[in-house]
């Protein structure tokens, strides 16, 4: 499982696997928003938590269809299915690798981009914490979506249609935590709920993803 994780990391970083692409997308999105809504600092600081969360969500969506598609094309997915580790562990390792290559950089970059959007000072810490808690759930849900659509020729669009509604609870609690942090209120409740969603997703979705993979490999 660790070997698979390391292999996926290496693939993502070396062979133009889209590492950093999500980050660049995130940056572009944040740059475009002020053009769309106007450069007023008060307005920007009001919408910053939501924009940053939606941006992180869309950026993590970008690389989802690569999770299994490349392995399927060169046949290594079949080998993984017959490997001694269970497919559930494969799904979990894939999700972890996806998180390290997209979720983690996004989390670390978000406070910096928050400065661009005039996010008030206490919000940066909350943004960091809520993204760190929430992005693993995004990667895990995305892995499930990728497992569902791995057999399709052009699954990319369908994948976003399937996955985005599943992101709703994570987004709500994440943006709410940051908004409360900015307003100086107590943000523990949304953070706890978000942690619960992440823990639940990590516990249940590997099984669903493995089931979908087995069906697709039949």
């Amino acid at each position: 499982m660790l070997a698979l994780f390391a292999r996926d990391l290496a693939l993502a970083i070396r062979a133009g696997g889209g590492f950093g692409l999500a980050l660049a997308f995130f940056l572009i999105l944040v740059t475009l928003v002020p053009f769309g809504v106007g450069p007023l600092p008060e307005l920007l600081s009001r919408i910053a938590p939501g924009i940053l969360w939606v941006g992180a969500l869309l950026a993590s969506l970008l690389s989802l269809d690569r999770i299994f598609a490349l392995d399927r094309e060169d046949g290594s997915l079949d080998l993984l299915a017959t490997a001694p580790i269970p497919l559930e562990a494969v799904a979990l390792a894939k999700a972890a690798a996806h998180w390290v290559t997209t979720g983690l950089p996004l989390t670390l970059a978000a406070p910096v981009l928050g400065v661009l959007l005039n996010l008030p000072a206490p919000g940066h810490l909350w943004l960091l914490v809520s993204l760190a808690l929430g992005t693993p759930a995004l990667s895990m849900i995305g892995t499930f979506g990728a497992a569902l659509t791995v057999g399709l020729k052009r699954g990319g669009l369908l994948l976003s249609l399937l996955v985005l509604p599943l992101y709703v609870p994570t987004l709500i609690f994440g943006a709410e935590a940051v908004a409360r942090g900015v307003a100086g209120q107590d943000a523990t409740t949304p953070l706890l709920l978000q942690g619960a969603i992440t823990a639940g997703a990590l516990a249940i979705l590997p099984f669903a993803a493995a089931a979908a993979l087995r069906i697709n490999l039949r």
């Binding site: 399937l162 985005l164 509604p165 599943l166 709703v168 709500i172």
Partner: protein
């Protein structure tokens, strides 16, 4: 005869051929009674005037939109556990009916909301969770149409339906956390202190019954069509082999 034998495709085609016309007839009759009674023979509400009458479309369709998903969930479970093909096809057949019910509920709500709330749409928890339910239906139907092999499609959509149900429930309660509502609370519950007046309640229950019957009739009819399509598919495959 065991319960599961009704799900044998041949038996299913046999009894549904007799039941479907009756269900359609009964649904039409109940709907006619409920809607005509509701639209023409109930008093206007003292505050909402005659706009209250859209309730006879809005509440039943919203009720069926949720229950159609529940039925798809049960049918998906039966397919995953017992591998009854009819069950998978019934889930497939129910999805477009369910999405239509969701749309009816959203549109009638908007039409009522414009004069009463002064807006077509607000980001109220109930409205938002219905919009999310609509998206779930959309994804489910899209996945069905995207996959060619019928058994794979049935399997994958069933898994999606199970996971989607969990997340739909999560979203439903997450949006409660996110925004306060404008939508009125439940006023039909059997155990509630304060319900709507019987003058409105009785025709409403008749309408809901009509919508349930309509749903059952449509799903049975569509399932028959799906079975027919599947037979045709098998026949063409066999012909191509020969």
């Amino acid at each position: 005869m065991q319960f599961w034998e009704f799900a044998n495709p041949r038996v299913f085609m046999g009894w549904t051929a007799r039941v479907v016309p009756w269900t359609f007839g009964l649904a039409a009759a109940t709907l006619a009674v409920g809607l005509v009674w509701g639209f023409f023979f109930t008093p206007d509400d003292f505050r909402q005037g005659s706009t209250v009458k859209i309730i006879y479309l809005h509440v039943p369709s919203a009720f069926m939109a949720i229950n159609a998903w529940m039925m798809m969930l049960v049918a998906s479970l039966i397919w995953l556990i017992r591998r009854h093909h009819v069950s998978a096809l019934a889930a497939k057949a129910a999805a477009p009916v369910g999405i239509t019910m969701t749309l009816i509920a959203l549109f009638t709500g908007a039409i009522w909301g414009q004069p009463m709330w002064g807006t077509w749409w607000v980001w109220d928890p109930r409205l938002t969770s219905f919009l999310i339910l609509f998206l779930f239906y959309l994804g489910y139907i899209a996945l069905w149409t995207a996959i060619e092999d019928p058994d794979t499609a049935a399997d994958l959509t069933s898994v999606l339906c199970l996971v989607g149900s969990v997340f739909a429930l999560l979203s439903r309660y997450a949006v409660l956390f996110w925004n306060q509502g404008l939508h009125q609370g439940a006023s039909l519950s059997l155990d509630a202190e304060e319900n709507i007046s019987d003058v409105f309640w009785v025709p409403l229950v008749v309408s809901i019954t009509g919508f349930v019957l309509l749903f059952v009739a449509l799903v049975l009819y569509r399932t028959r069509t799906e079975i027919g399509a599947r037979r045709l598919y098998a026949l063409t495959l066999r012909e191509r082999m020969a």
